[in-house]
């Protein structure tokens, strides 16, 4: 389809939009010009919006035969120089895992949105879940370090999708927007800034001409090798096999160890720059509620209720889920008596909080299907305050 830009890429202004649409608009604002996907509730609106918008903004939309194909397609597009994205939900996210692994080991930037629904399996297609948090870290075989943002509102669907694109290019790897059905389908005011005001970090390009450097060699101690594109003459070799700095496959434990450690380290060592969180009434809190995404809205409501009842509760809302805000947890752990982790799953982030604190960690969990009820969180805050001492 001949794609001609006839519509503005950035819809500057105030909107009343749902999270899925805001995500699509965030992508466009970030310069996303390639979307390959496969419909799945509750993320379909993202694809539909992209199908409507991309052909009118000079980009390309293609609907693939499945999620495996979608994932690979955006990787190919990324090597062709596109800012590429796909959007899905649990079952599709699972099907993308193998080629997410390819993206991690080949350091191919891309953005993958998972609007979480109730799982496992087909589960509750139309209702919310937050049970893909650990999967986002561990869903593919082997070791790697993902970056995952967890928006809690349509506005954040917009904002964090932009950040996701920038992080993907900066660290040359997939970045996740780990939303959930409530946020994806919730409609609220979204403010889209002027195009100039939108930060777009570029993808680092090799500073050497073709043939004069190693494609997979990180420079300046950054751990992230600059990325040449297909067609530029660099005679790239990309492989999902363990490879050396030339990009060539090598059957060697040493090379493998070096490779996977660099891939991990480029994120771990930059964690401080990547990790984002929000604190609310934490300063004097005895109980720290940890939450994210739609559950964080229940949690904040609960903290307000608790405060009104005289309970010293505060909220640590995770804006990035991965890399995990371990340092923040350790730090907070020194100040509070106990943690309450509120999440729409059977206790995933809770396992991470446990790693970084020896204080009591209470979980407020629900298998999924509806937002966490604030009352339950308030009760847990009480229990945590009383139990902890």
């Amino acid at each position: 389809m001949t794609s001609v830009a006839t519509a503005p890429t950035v819809l500057t202004g105030q909107h009343f939009m749902n999270g899925d649409i805001a995500c699509a608009e965030g992508a466009l604002a970030a310069g996303c010009d390639f979307f390959a996907g496969y419909p799945i509730t509750p993320s379909t609106e993202i694809a539909e919006r992209m199908a409507q918008r991309l052909p009118r903004t000079g980009g390309h939309y293609i609907q693939m035969e499945d999620e495996l194909a979608s994932m690979n397609c955006i990787l190919g597009a990324s090597w062709a120089g596109r800012r590429a994205m796909t959007a899905t939900s649990g079952p599709g996210f699972t099907l993308m895992q193998e080629n997410l692994g390819l993206a991690f080991i080949t350091e191919t930037p891309c953005v993958v949105v998972n609007v979480q629904r109730g799982g496992p399996s087909t589960g509750l297609p139309t209702l919310a879940g937050q049970a893909d948090v650990m999967q986002a870290k561990w869903g593919s075989h082997g070791d790697y370090e993902p970056i995952a943002y967890a928006p809690a509102s349509p506005q954040e669907m917009f904002d964090l999708t932009i950040k996701a694109f920038n992080a993907a290019d900066a660290y040359r790897q997939p970045v996740f927007v780990l939303s959930d059905e409530v946020v994806g389908h919730m409609t609220e005011r979204v403010i889209i800034p002027a195009a100039e005001a939108i930060e777009r970090a570029g993808r680092p390009k090799p500073s050497f001409p073709p043939g004069k450097g190693l494609i997979y060699q990180a420079v300046d101690g950054s751990l992230v090798p600059p990325m040449p594109l297909a067609g530029e003459g660099y005679r790239i070799h990309m492989t999902g096999l363990t490879h050396d700095e030339r990009g060539y496959p090598v059957t060697s434990a040493d090379v493998h160890d070096r490779l996977v450690r660099r891939l991990s380290d480029k994120i771990i060592r930059n964690a401080e720059r990547i990790v984002e969180w929000e604190e609310y009434l934490l300063d004097d809190a005895e109980v720290c509620v940890v939450s994210f995404g739609s559950s964080a809205r229940s949690a904040r409501h609960a903290v307000n209720v608790a405060r009104a009842q005289g309970l010293k509760a505060g909220l640590l809302r995770l804006i990035t889920l991965w890399p995990f805000a371990g340092a923040q947890m350790s730090h907070t752990s020194e100040r509070v008596k106990a943690f309450v982790v509120a999440e729409l799953n059977l206790g995933q982030v809770a396992t991470q909080v446990q790693r970084f604190s020896s204080k009591r960690v209470l979980g407020v969990h629900h298998g999924g299907g509806e937002m966490l009820r604030p009352e339950r969180i308030v009760r847990a805050i009480k229990e945590a305050r009383d139990g902890a001492s």
Binding site: F34, A69, G76, R82
Partner: protein, 275 residues
Amino acid sequence: MARAEQIVEVHPVDQYLRSERLPHIWCPGCGLGPITNCYVQAMVQSAIPADKHVIVSGIGCTGRVPGYVNIDSFHTTHGRAIPFATGLKLGNPELEVTVISGDGDLFAIGGNHILHAARRNIDLNIICVNNFNYGMTGGQLGPTTPRGAITSTTPYGNPEDALNLVHLMASLGAVFVARWSALHVRQLEEAIQRVFQKRGLTFVEVLAPCPIGFGRPNDLGEGLDEMQLYKLECVVDDTADLKDCGIDLRSHKPLILGNFIDIERTPYGEWEEDG
């Protein structure tokens, strides 16, 4: 002047090879070497500059071809070369994207992608090296293994019928469909030249010896023996009825080769919008 051979260190196409990686991993007698050779010759001679040629594969012995060719080359995951190549091509239509992969990679695990790429008529050149088995993993049954054949996972004979690749691709609407063998290097080179020029999804099947995985267990001998068999039993017939062109090397029936299909169909991305 007596002209015996001269011993040298460099081959004329070495600059288009990642020659520092030679010798490649393929077994003696494997058909993959000649096929790579053909691709490189065709690529070098094509009107398209080498910088715009891209080669993409999945996983398998055939999947290793891109690793030896000194152009932009992508060795993806098992079965996924085509969607990756689709992204490359749609992302940058200037690229001349060739997919080369094994019969198992393209038609077992990757079958769905080739089906839909053909339906969409994505502008890709697909070269499928058919060695009738999964070579890389040591000679198991694949979708092209003929019924009754012995592989490491069909020790009592394969109970399945094989796919007839050229027939399938023709019925899916590929705009160019050919079959050659690793022995038919001239014709193969020419077919590859032609697919570089065609727009839309083209498909070239190449029969190739895999003495380890298929030849030996099926009493076809070494690579050389299978090449001799091609020499004896291949028949070129561009107009053959593809339905009848299934292949069983053990049957000693004629192996039909040719450039079977060459049609025009607007490639994906070039339709005018209707709406």
